[in-house]
Assembly symmetry: C2
Homo-oligomer: 315 residues x 2
């Protein structure tokens, strides 16, 4: 039996139960001859993005990008200024938008539908390569409203180290986010070392239109996939073709993905990030109550930002 | 400028225009300092499967798997024996099934809908891991009806060598097939060295059902994606997040994917396999007429099985 060396890495994790659970799990699945050994090809890990790998408060980063576009539309067309979500975007009413997500987590999607309708209009007809460029620019230049850093630097340093640690131990990590897939892709490699093909997320419907130069793919004004809740394990299977053995999330929408990890015949590690540090980040449990209850009832690993992380953000 | 060494590999390709076009293209995009240099991360290649990477005659391999299942259903339930496609499966009427695909290539999907209805019923309620096991067994034990080899050995040796040659030159290859994604996955790594996460294809809808052991994902009796025609470039973008620079296919359904390769700002190589060898394989153009016309009109590379390949099958 070869014992894996799992002592390095994780420099921004305090010695505590979360770091110990990670090291213990990785040790068990990578030790050759161990009853829980998992071959490298099957060491698949999946990570939610908003609130798990990067900051999602006071509102998800993607919403800022959408707001910017909706405000520009309302500037051009005054008739839009009385209609949500253009009204909130034009007036800078961030509160209305933040509450949409909180209400979604509580099961009320009335305003989410209004917002989604606006989002569908916002990018309809744009081709994927132009959208990618716009998202890249926003993420590198846009400033987080309270943290004093560009969005590109809103990733959590301990999670970046966890991704490195897993890669060093033969894991392949994917993002499985409720956020827009093509919005994240321009920065996931730079921040997390996760390339575009390993980013799973929501998307509007797309259509290919041929021309004399290879054609283009444009967004339609209709949804395709909303990658949240029970859709997460389905999309993970569709994209990866394997059941993950490690899953990390922070909200109720991550519960099915967390339950799916491991499965009947293999070990599984489930991490739930708890935002309890109002000084260095934010302090909230709205939208995570059921996930926290289940994590505590089943002995999953709750990661406290305050207690488990010695640093929060990448620099 | 570093000149790439592109002389090795491709042992089963005759010296001729197809092999020369491949070597020339790979040389141009991998030669550092060349105006057409493409960084390794952007060297994405996409391959159709049926008729491009493995044999699709006298009927697609997947149809044999479906037939076996439908026949088993009709054996159990006599009422199914008068209904298509159970009737054809139960009676071993392969001709009806082969013609479904030919008619689809000609734009008539009447019988395809009948067949798809049967397929949806065939696997409804089965979980993805059980389906994977069944497909693995069929592909390793099932015998091709005329070639005297198991399905596992129906891949084209020159295409396997092309995949190796591309990998050696920094390319990442994906399968983008109209066939069922989860049916191919159990053998693509063994035959082509393409892992499950790089297999794009059709799929029925899936649903996650939780239980106390991680839950399971089962097929529903409804389609999700039929990965053919203009859907191919859309699914390639969705899965990869990049536009490929090389595409290989053999039928009209591959045309949009072939047109998509390269694009406005980068070089592109398009390969179209022509089945013209009745002695070693099959001789047919049904369903490929428009693709052949466009390939010849635009100077794409037509790969003749008879003239360009010194060996056809893997052994």
């Amino acid at each position: 039996m070869t014992t894996a060396d799992t002592s390095g890495g994780l420099a921004s994790w305090n010695d505590g139960p979360a770091a110990a659970a990670i090291r213990d799990f990785v040790g068990r699945v990578t030790t050759d001859g161990s009853p829980e050994f998992v071959p490298p090809a099957e060491r698949v890990a999946v990570f939610d993005n908003d609130g798990t790998l990067w900051c999602e408060k006071p509102m998800p980063i993607e919403l800022g990008f959408i707001l910017q576009r909706l405000a520009a539309m309302a500037t051009k067309d005054p008739a839009l200024r009385d209609r949500q979500p253009w009204k909130a975007a034009y007036e800078g009413d961030h509160q209305w938008l933040g509450e949409v997500i909180t209400r979604h987590y509580h099961g009320d999607d009335t305003d989410l539908k209004v917002l989604m309708g606006g989002i569908l209009q916002a990018f309809a007809g744009m081709d994927v390569e132009a959208y990618q460029q716009a998202a890249h620019g926003f993420l590198h230049q846009g400033q987080h409203p309270t943290l004093g850093r560009v969005f590109r630097d809103c990733g959590y340093q301990p999670m970046v180290e966890l991704l490195e640690y897993l890669a060093a131990n033969g894991f392949t990590s994917y993002i499985a986010s409720g956020g827009d897939r093509d919005f994240m892709r321009p920065v996931t490699e730079a921040i997390y070392n996760i390339p575009a093909e390993r980013v799973i997320g929501s998307s509007n419907a797309l259509r290919y239109t041929p021309d004399d130069h290879g054609g283009s793919i444009v967004y339609l004004a209709e949804p395709d996939v909303f990658d949240d809740g029970p859709v997460k394990p389905v999309r993970i299977w569709s994209r990866v073709g394997r059941r993950p053995i490690l899953a990390a999330g922070n909200s109720n929408g991550d519960l099915p993905m967390l339950r799916f990890a491991g499965g009947p015949s293999r070990p599984g590690l489930r991490l739930l990030v708890l935002h309890d540090d109002p000084e260095r980040e934010f302090d909230y449990v709205a939208g995570s109550e059921r996930a926290l209850d289940e994590a505590r009832a089943k002995g999953w690993t709750v990661v406290s930002v305050k207690d488990d992380w010695s640093a929060v953000f990448t620099d």
